[in-house]
Each structure stands twice: as structure tokens, then as C-alpha cells.
Amino acid sequence: MHTELREKHEIYDYLRHSKKFPVMWCAGCGIGIVLGAIIRAIDRMGLDRDRVAMVSGIGCTGRMPVYVDFNTMHTTHGRALAFATGLKLARPDMYVLVVMGDGDALAIGGNHFIHAARRNMDLTAIVVNNNIYGMTGGQYSPTTPLHMRATTAPYGNIEPPFPLCELAKAAGASFVARSTVYHATELDRLIEQAIARRGFSVVEAVSYCHTTYGRLNRLGAAVDMMRWLKENSVTLAQAEKMSPEERETKIVRGILLDREGPGYVDLYDEIIRQAKAAENG
């Protein structure tokens, strides 16, 4: 733990001093906490930051890359994984992290999400799930729970939310994990493992948007929503002891899937070898 604490202060090394701080997010927004977790993970892994890329789409979460001193790219809404796919194929030596909001990843970007998973594309997808479209002011997203209100669900949401992690698993991801911004150090360890895993890895970082979702649903301020995360999440081990009904109401944290196997990049390298052999043969 000593070395860890020491590293914590390195966070400032990773922030872009040429960028205007404080960050643009609302006071108390969890996105900054996820950013901190990502930096800690990368720092702990000792990655060469020239070989780290952070790609995002559009949304509050999408604004994350601008603050960190990596190779950063803020793309179009929902398409971050597709941009990242091209980048990764061109630069297989780079660690390509893709940060997305729930809307970015699963609404407009849902197809790229399941296809990156299917291809087992060597990317680390970090989804900051605040159950709402934050940036545009609180419209419901594909992860808004049933019956909750949003600016476009004035009568309460009737669309069942996606089980993000289940979907990632069904689509073919290699590594799937979940934690919350309350569990910030757990989060950074999961992110570390996700980055280390070949193939497509997904970390769902459960956060909150008190400014829109919280206000519309009278869930209180950041502090209240943070407390809710603390009190309503359980580890995998705890969850296994629960009845299905009880488990339903909890956020289950931990590594939900971790499977070995070649990622797309390795498989394509094999094709290159094959093609070159055929060429010369």
C-alpha cells in the first residue's frame, strides 16, 4: 500500500497542464473519479504513455480524454469503438482505451459495442454508466431503470434497460467487470486487469448524474447518490449468497467474465503471415 499511496500523487503528472482546470463536469460528478481510476491503473502498470491512446465519443464522459496526457481522440457520438478499431489495427503496439457514456456505448453506439465484442477486438472499453444522457440534459438512456423519470420520460420509463455486462458477454467479449465510483480503488484494479487482457474487455463503471437524473427523480445531490452506490452494491461473492430477487436489486461488482483466447489483432497477424508465405511460396 505504501507504493500505491506514493503513486497517487502522480495523477497530476498525467493531467494536461495546458488544459483549463477544473474539469468541465458538474460539482460531484463521478466521471472525474473514473478518470482518476484509469490514471492509477495505467500508472501502476507502468505503461509508456506514448503508447496509450484514449478514444471517446460524445457526452459528458466523452470529454474525459481532453484532460489526460495520452494520445487522445474525441470522436463522433457512438462511434468511438469503430475509430479505436482502426487505430488499434494501425498501431497494434498501443494500448487503446475507449471511454464512453451509457448512451454513447449502448444507444447510438450499441452496434459497434457488440461487434467489437464479437470480433474480440483488442480494446479496453470503459463505460461510465450514469443511466441517463447527461450532456444533453437528462433524456432516458438504454440503461435508465424502469419507471424512472427523464426529460423524455415524463411519465416514467417503460423501456427495460440493457444488462450491459450480459450483453457484452453474449456478444463475445473476453473480459467483463463492473464496479462503481464509490469503489474507486476496486475500479482501478479492474481497469488494470482489463487493459492487461488480450481481446475485447469491458469495465462498467457505475456512476450517477445528480444534475439531471438525480434531480428529476429526487434522488438528492452527489453525496446522496454516492451513498446509494455504497449501500446498494455487492461483490460477486456476496451476490452468490443472495436470492435471485434480492440480487436483482443490487449492483454486482467484480469480474463477471475472464476468458483467454487470441484477440483479433493476433489472428490478423496470422493472416498476414499466411498471405506473405503464399506470396513468396
Binding site: 468541465m24 463536469w25 458538474c26 460539482a27 459528458c60 447527461g134 450532456m135 440534459g137 444534475t211 439531471t212
Partner: protein
Amino acid sequence: MVKGTTKAPGRYEIRLAGEGGQGLILAGVILAEAAAIYDGKNAAQTQSYGPEARGGASKSEVVISEGEIDYPKVIEADLLLAMSQEACDKYYHNLKRDGILIVDSVNVSRVPTSKAYRVPITRLAEEATGRRLVANVVSLGVIVGLTGIVSRQAIEAAVSARAPRGTKELNLRALEAGFRAAEELKAQVTG
């Protein structure tokens, strides 16, 4: 007090500037509504805001006129309310030569002219209602009190109509606090 508007007869331009979350857009809407709906004049309200969901610069503009309003933005402000230092620095140059500058002295320390009205708007809000949130309504009291650009009934009606359920009294108290501050300032100037 509306005499500063002679250069553009019939058209009075107000700019409310500060930060996101200070309720300036709503203040602009209420002021414009007072003019348009309750005083029967013409009014146009526009705004600009950053991409930031909260925080960042925020600006609300109100043009009030007896005649038709074509260009709806401020050309040269007759009145500038600056609720932050940044807003004051940024927009002061666009204030008409004899335009009115009102600053929230709680947030703005460097004031570019001695002719400014320095009002501790946020503090007044807190004092009058216990809630800093209604500083925007206090500022409306100050503005209307100083300029008479809309009638008192109009602004009271507009504030009442826009007040969230159960907050009408509180908001009217905030408005009243603004009016009182304006009276004091006027007394100072004339006195």
C-alpha cells in the same frame, strides 16, 4: 433612469452575464415576460451557454421595445448585470457609454468603472430568504428598481408565475430585497 437609451429609441438592451447555475437564463425569461406579457411591450430573450452541462459562462440577453424587434441580441447594452468577474471583464466593453453596470459585489471585486452599482446580490438573497439560489430574482428587483424598464406589477406577476410550487412568497421576498437595494442606490446617487 431609462434616459440612457436615447441612442436607440424604443429599444432597451439588457445583458445578464455570469456562470451556469446562477439562474440568469430564467431571470432573462422572467424580465422579458414581464415586459411582453404583463406590460404589453415587445421583448425577445436569447441566451448563450457553453457545452458544459453545468458551470462555465452563461449569458442571457433581453431586448425590450415598443416596436418590433428584429435583431434579438444586444448590439450595445443599455444595462449589464455581471454576476461573475469573468462576465464583468468580458462584457463591460460592450456596454453603452452611459449604460448601467450592476455587479454582484460578492463575486466581482475588480470593477472597471466607478459608476457601477455594486450590490451584494448573493448576500442579499441569502439574507432575505436564506437561499443563495434566488440571487437571480434579487437582481431582477435591482434592475427594475433602478431602471423601471418594466412595471413593478409586471415583474411581480412574472416572478409569481414562474415560481416553482410553494416558492412564490420566497421569490417575492427576494424581489423585494432587490427593489430595496435599488431604492438605496438611487438615494445615494441623487442624495
